[in-house]
């Protein structure tokens, strides 16, 4: 009888305590949790990959948590080991510091493991990006999205007006004049003045055309302040100045626009061209008017180009696995599956975005005219991967425009000139070089 009493008491006390239990459990065995930036690419691609993975791994559940602010949210989680996921898909941020601080899982074995047909993850990756995820001799990240950026144009408008797609910079300048003359109020360009770094998608291409990929590699190694004297950077900025420093080539009020506003003006035919990327179609899918046709053009070539066909994929989005992930091996299995041809083709089909692996997405059926035009550029161009391993870059001491950030708005407004930006960046770096070395223990 005592046992019965005791059991009753224990049960009641447990119930009382349980009623007050308001804690939440963290990661679970056999539940692979994936946190991802849920923005322009949506979540359907991940939903379908989840289903494939669960089918191949009976008893395993994949739990998805998407949030547009995930890149900012992930840091506190990974660094404090709170509410941690097994895999993170994030936009460009300084993951290298997470790796060096010991927060990330080492992925060397994943890179060395076979994905399919005898090819390892490393072999399957586009050669130029193999080092993307490497730091201090080991792999800690995988590149997520590859990309295509440049000038997107209103293909319907071009056809209607018999405007030729320019192949050279001079032809682009001439086209801008033609649009102003024949376009019945249409302006050549719209762009987001609030996020003017969208012009990097064009200016970096011009710069790399002049310097070649080796020159760009040298720049991003930041071996000395002298790299800031590269002629290609000056010529690219001067091309921008000629094109956009002429305010009549942009619609009125661009300096107040954010990206979505400028994209709305573009799809509504207020301007004929916009600096943008392959994601624009997916980002604007719900508001694109019926019958609207757009394409991306190969960035028109500057005179004296060493490498006329350049694509700046804006590589930066990445995938990491936290060191304290509950399901480390499942996470690696999932990432391995994502590198198979089947998964890569599925990804591109659903997102309109390539990944930096060796496959041919132009063979995918059902892609839009716009995505196909961008993928042709991706396939035919040399990729400019602006990757730096220099600690001064990780510490935000050095970047492409270290003095004041993207200078396009100021050049547009006439507050500065291309040459002044170029010269002052150089002087700024020279004057602070020793300090940057000291800050990063590089003396």
């Amino acid at each position: 009888m005592k046992k019965v009493y005791l059991t009753i008491v224990i049960t009641i006390v447990s119930l009382v305590l349980m009623a007050c239990d308001i804690t939440d459990s963290g990661g679970q065995e056999n539940v692979l949790r994936i946190d991802f930036v849920e923005a322009g690419l949506g979540r359907e691609w991940l939903v379908q990959l989840k289903e494939k993975f669960e089918a191949k791994n009976p008893g395993v559940t994949v739990k998805l948590e998407g949030n547009p602010n995930m890149t900012a949210n992930a840091g506190p989680k990974i660094e404090n080991n709170r509410d941690i996921a097994d895999i993170y898909f994030l936009l460009e941020t300084n993951w290298q510091r997470w790796a060096t601080a010991g927060y990330l899982a080492n992925l060397d074995d994943l890179y060395a493991s076979e994905v399919e047909d005898g090819l390892t993850m490393e072999e399957k990756m586009v050669d130029e990006v193999i080092d993307f995820g490497k730091i201090n001799g080991s792999y800690y990240a995988i590149p997520w999205n590859d990309g295509v950026t440049g000038i997107v144009y209103n293909a319907g408008m071009f056809e209607e007006n018999n405007w030729e797609v320019p192949e050279t910079f001079d032809e682009l300048l001439a086209l801008a004049e033609t649009i102003k003359e024949e376009g019945r109020g249409v302006k050549p360009f719209t762009w987001p003045g609030q996020y003017s770094a969208y012009w990097n998608f064009v200016v970096y291409n011009w710069w790399a055309q002049i310097e070649g990929l080796d020159g760009m590699k040298e720049f991003y190694e930041f071996g000395s302040p002298e790299v800031f004297k590269q002629e290609g950077k000056l010529k690219a900025l001067q091309a921008f100045e000629l094109l956009i420093g002429d305010q009549s080539n942009s619609m009125n009020g661009v300096n107040g626009l954010i990206h979505t506003n400028s994209q709305m003006y573009f799809i509504n035919g207020i301007a004929a061209m916009i600096p943008n990327g392959i994601w624009i179609e997916s980002e604007m899918q719900h508001v694109i008017p019926e019958g609207f046709k757009m394409k991306m053009m190969q960035t028109p070539t500057l005179e004296g180009a060493k490498e006329p066909l350049i694509n700046n994929p804006q590589l930066g989005d990445f995938i990491v696995v936290p060191k304290h992930a509950k399901n480390l091996e499942l996470a690696k299995d999932f990432l391995r599956m994502m590198a198979t041809d089947e998964a890569l083709m599925l990804y591109t089909k659903l997102t309109g975005t390539p990944r930096p692996f060796k496959y041919d997405p132009t063979q995918i059926e059902g892609l839009s005219e716009f995505v196909l035009s961008a993928l042709e550029i991706w396939k035919n161009s040399k990729p400019l991967y602006a990757i730096s391993k220099n600690p001064m870059y990780f510490a935000n001491d050095l970047n492409t425009f270290p003095r004041s950030g993207a200078p396009y708005g100021e050049i547009y407004l006439g507050d500065t000139t291309a040459e002044e930006v170029w010269q002052k960046d150089y002087e700024y770096v020279v004057s602070r070089w020793d300090e940057f070395l000291k800050n990063n223990n590089m003396n």
């Binding site: 009641i12 547009p68 506190p76 510091r97």
Partner: protein, 454 residues
């Protein structure tokens, strides 16, 4: 024997449920003179008219600050000596305090160490002379409360700050050495390579800070949709725990403006409910100061751009002036009670246990509270728990739903050992009779109530 066992069990069970406390008389809280610190970033700028008169460093504009409930205004653009002195005069005239921001005081005591990390006496003295020559101009001014030394420092700078503070305290005893910390979502590089807890603990221990101040702007905007930062509560938890450990108060910034930057980060324009919600959440963690970011709308954003704050760029009162003022005064109406309580931790209650709020998942809340028998709610609830010197419990009960969506939250909390409760609703006191210990209340969007059951 069975009877004895039964009696013991019943007593034990009742003790579990009741917390073994007797009903008490209504506690009385005299006004002991303690007040919440209410500060604000960006004082009226030193713009002048064609005749050289200040347009905004005027009695009218400073009176507006005081009327809003702000007690300390922080200089920013008024950073030359004539502007600082004019601002101090206006602050004194209306009866508020002022934090000085002077470029000449910003980088002092950083480059005074040799290669071994030891201070070089001549360099230290030289910086101290510079310091004295600047602060001598205003150190005895009645409105001078302290100096804004740095906003969002890297931990690399702490060593210099520690030396700076020693000299500061020696010369300006009783004045505030103000440094404001980064939020948890800042990068490791921004923090100087240390994790966030270390970033905060070193700030207190190495520099010897007497209060913690930090910012965290939780109201984000993506594609016209509101998103809260996932780590808003985690940040509060880390800071509040450090404050308790070091027995010092903490203050935090309240987002009273929207900003965006070139990286695409965009925060949303707050409403009155958003401001009230941030303040209530902060108080649930025992905050003893709130600071508005910003009072005056920043004139130039650099890489950031801003929508109008409490006061627009041209000096007009914006709608957020009324909203923030209202919330400030609600706090000031009952801060004399709230400040008599010590913070003890938070409880969380998820309306949908299968879909726990990510902010809740990030923290380590109390598992239970002996004074609370049960919680029911329509939506998520955050409860700050407190004790006063007489062992009375206090609870800051907050509707933890993003105020953007305007959700109300019907709550039902059953207290142990309570027949009544003092409830502060928007700063106003009500005494409520509890039926079987139950408090029912319909929290508005963004609302928090402070409850003292007895």
């Amino acid at each position: 024997m069975k009877k004895i066992i039964s009696i013991v069990m019943i007593i034990g069970f009742m003790a579990l449920l009741s917390g073994c406390e007797d009903a008490r008389e209504e506690p009385i809280y005299e006004d002991l003179g303690d007040e919440m610190m209410i500060g604000a970033w960006v004082a009226p700028p030193p713009t002048k008219d064609s005749e050289g008169n200040y347009l905004y460093i005027t009695e009218e504009h400073y009176q507006n600050i005081k009327d809003s409930g702000i007690k300390v205004i922080y200089g920013l653009y008024d950073n030359t000596m004539p502007d600082i002195l004019a601002a101090l005069d206006m602050a004194e005239l209306v009866g508020i305090d002022y934090y000085v921001y002077h470029w000449g005081l910003r980088g002092l005591f950083q480059d005074v160490f040799d290669s071994q990390g030891n201070p070089i006496p001549e360099e230290v003295e030289s910086d101290f002379d510079t310091f004295k020559s600047i602060v001598d101009n205003f150190k005895d001014h009645k409105a001078f409360k302290g100096i804004k030394i740095w906003d969002e420092p890297s931990a690399d700078l702490y060593k210099g700050f520690a030396l700076y503070k020693t000299k500061f305290d020696e010369y300006l005893p009783g004045k505030d050495f103000y440094i404001n910390l980064f939020p948890t979502y800042a990068s490791i590089a921004q923090r100087g390579g240390v994790d966030y807890e270390e970033y905060v603990s070193q700030y207190v221990d190495l520099i010897g800070m007497e209060f913690i101040s930090y910012d965290h702007y939780p109201l984000m905007l993506f594609y016209e949709e509101s998103v809260l930062t996932d780590d808003y509560l985690l940040n509060l938890e880390i800071i509040a725990n450090q404050a308790v450990k070091s027995n010092i108060p903490f203050w935090l910034f309240i987002q009273t403006i929207s900003y965006s930057n070139i990286t695409g980060t965009q925060t949303r324009r707050p409403t009155e409910a958003d401001i009230r919600w941030q303040v209530a959440v902060s108080m649930a963690y025992g905050a003893k100061g709130i600071q508005h970011f910003t009072y005056w709308t920043p004139i130039e954003g650099g890489v950031e751009s801003f929508t109008p704050g409490m006061i627009e760029v041209d000096g007009k009162k914006g709608e957020l002036y009324e909203a923030a003022s209202k919330v400030n005064h609600e706090v000031l109406n009952f801060d004399h009670v709230y400040l008599q309580f010590d913070w003890k931790g938070v409880l969380t209650h998820s309306a949908d246990p299968d879909n726990v709020n990510v902010n809740f998942r990030m923290i380590s809340p109390l598992e239970s509270h002996k004074r609370i028998r049960s919680i029911k709610s329509e939506n998520d609830v955050l409860i700050g728990t407190f004790k006063d010197k007489d062992n009375n419990d206090g609870f800051m009960i907050v509707n933890f739903e993003d105020p953007f969506y305007g959700k109300t939250n019907e709550i039902e909390i059953r207290f142990n050992d309570a027949t009544h409760a003092i409830v502060f609703i928007k700063g106003e006191k009500e005494t409520v009779k509890l039926e079987k210990g139950v408090l029912k209340y319909d929290l508005e969007s963004g609302e928090g109530i402070f409850v003292i059951p007895y």
